[in-house]
């Protein structure tokens, strides 16, 4: 497994927290604030992710799909985008949602089973989580196609996992993107498992990235736990897409440290040694922390302060979500059609107890 992982096209921050030569060239161009921003986002995402797991355990929210371990992939991806860009996420994209500007309160509401949690604020072009696998991909492709036809400079990003690469939608989307040279980025977080099924059972081809060549689009395989490698690959893909150079398939090799969802038990299908190796050797947050410390950009005291700040922010959001007034039952009719047909009006009245006794 780890040997396979080592065969990535791009790794800039080594697991020991040291930069490669190529990585140093890019890193040195960044301001101190930008370097810290990567770290701060990743810590905040992890803090919130853990809180969402405990909220489920406490019975305060529903089943949650944790993403701990994938912070570098998600933060690196989303930070490379602009406000005008479209994001079509899967359901395990907490870091993507947060960086894109989805309020924490909304995210909590979503996992509490409340539809309000799907609504992004104005100017935040992130769609709700796509729950069926890979179905967001053709839509991201279509949104990119519209941008191209309208002469806009926005790009679309479809976020998905390794399991999605087995779906027909994966093939159809990459195929259209290649044929029409669309400004879309297919961002695959290969966390090695689709629930319990390992990637070797998804594909006889050893990597996701190499499948790009079948569609005449660019493919790149990066260390997904290296935020700098992910960010730079995304940045290149965005520039290429904006300049009319078409689509890119990015495979960010990573690992979900937790369960598939709070209803899953990963010990049933994953090797404990493998998990331990990813946790103790390849943690994306620890890696960046070591780098920043070695550069004198982060102290223990600052780490404590930031973690405490994150906890406060999260608790505030939990409070806001839990005290948000619920919607009345009749609300389920409000957005089915722009104008409610008469038979649905009758059903709404029945629900609210105002209808006739029959029909």
């Amino acid at each position: 497994m780890l040997q396979r992982m080592d065969r990535v096209d791009r790794q800039y921050i080594l697991p020991e927290g040291e930069l490669t030569d190529a990585g140093r060239n890019i890193w040195n161009e960044f301001s101190k604030e930008k370097k810290q921003a990567f770290y701060r986002w990743m810590v905040q995402v992890r803090s919130f992710d853990r809180r969402l797991v405990t909220l489920q355990r406490q019975g305060r929210s529903g089943t949650y799909a944790p993403m701990e371990g994938q912070e570098a992939a998600q933060v690196g991806c989303a930070l490379a985008l602009s406000k005008e860009d479209w994001i079509f996420p899967s359901y395990r994209e907490l870091g993507i949602f947060m960086v894109a500007g989805m309020p924490l309160k909304q995210i909590i509401l979503y996992w509490m089973g409340r539809v309000e949690g799907n609504v992004a604020p104005d100017g935040v072009r992130v769609l709700p989580p796509y729950v069926p696998i890979a179905t967001q991909m053709p839509q991201a492709m279509g949104a990119a196609w519209a941008a191209k036809l309208k002469g806009e400079r926005s790009v679309s990003v479809a976020c998905f996992g390794d399991g999605a690469t087995s779906e027909g939608d994966f093939h159809e989307s990459l195929n259209f993107a290649g044929v029409f040279q669309l400004p879309v980025i297919f961002f695959c977080q290969n966390n090695h498992y689709a629930i319990s099924v390992p990637f070797t059972r998804q594909s006889a081809v050893p990597t996701v990235a190499e499948r790009a060549s079948s569609y005449q689009i660019r493919g790149i395989r990066v260390d997904g736990n290296d935020v700098l490698a992910v960010y730079s690959a995304m940045e290149e893909a965005v520039v290429q897409a904006r300049q009319g150079g078409g689509a890119t398939l990015i495979e960010a090799v990573t690992y979900r440290l937790g369960n598939h969802t709070t209803a899953d038990d990963a010990t049933r299908y994953r090797d404990q040694l493998e998990e331990k190796e990813w946790i103790s050797y390849r943690d994306p947050v620890v890696r960046l922390e070591m780098l920043l410390k070695s550069e004198g950009l982060l102290t223990e005291a600052e780490i404590q302060d930031w973690e405490e700040h994150c906890r406060d922010v999260v608790e505030q959001a939990v409070k806001e979500a839990e005290s948000a007034a619920g919607l009345p039952p009749e609300h389920m009719f409000d957005h089915v059609y722009e104008e409610l047909p008469s038979d649905l009006r009758r059903q709404r009245e029945e629900l609210s107890g105002k209808g006739k006794k029959h029909a």
């Binding site: 479209w86 769609l127 069926p132 053709p138 839509q139 279509g142 036809l149 409000d334 059609y337 008469s342």
Partner: protein, 325 residues
Amino acid sequence: MPEKTLIQGINDGLRTALTEDPSTLVLGEDVGKNGGVFRATEGLWEMFGDHRVIDTPLAEAGIVGAAIGMAINGLRPVAEIQFMGFIYPAFEQIVTHAARLRTRTQGQYPASLVIRAPYGGGIRAPELHSDSTESLFVHTPGLKVVVPSTPYDAKGLLLAAIQDPDPVIYLEPMKIYRSFRQDVPKGWFEVPIGKARKVQTGEDVTLITWGSMVSMAEKAAQTALDQGISCEVLDLRSLYPLDEEMIITSVKKTGRAVIIHEAPKTAGLGAELAARIHELAFLWMESPVERVTGYDVPVPMFALEDDFRPSLQRIDRAIHRVMTF
């Protein structure tokens, strides 16, 4: 006014929308240079170019998924699925996404798009080309489903569908694509979605149908009239939303209803119509509602398709059953 066939009405509708609304585009298999396998898009590619009339790869889920993405990003796509029997790869995109995007995003992204598909049998088409699975889509909240049966309605309903803020499944009865001509006005006009058409007025029985079965119902009404039975014929045009008002007013007047559709009987739209009549007009009924439909078998290959589709004889018998109950 120019006389047009139903498929020319569709072509005219597409041409009008592409001319008047720069956000409209047409995409699908063979819709470009070839003008569509039935010629529904004939001449449009030449007139509007590759970026408005787009030949896509052969991938139904990709076509509909792309159309949803385009709608999210502000375009008005009209996607063509070559035959209704081939729509199923796109079923997930339609049912899980197009139908629900408005609800899921609380109105932020309404998925305003049209999906056109020829449906039904009667043209000796190859195997699996003759499905009438409209009730799958009527059963899906969030969608509208329309079926024209005249050249005038073909254009007017299509323009209404393109203009509609909700996703519309626009089903084309290919049996009557070229069976008759009718005056179709030039320019933009709409036939409102949700309104049925009273084909003829009658007193004794209401015949409720749509698509290529409308002309069959008219013939059956003529036969019945020769025997002194007066039929009212309703062409639903809009399968969802239903024009309940016209349906219920009519059956309250006649007290009898015969529903005719090509689709199989069980859980076909006739079942819903019968239930609504039961719920809303039970005390006015002189007899149980009759259904004349396709049988509950996979649509047979064309050697037997005439035996599968509702026949004049079966409709006549149903009319007599409700009259003599």
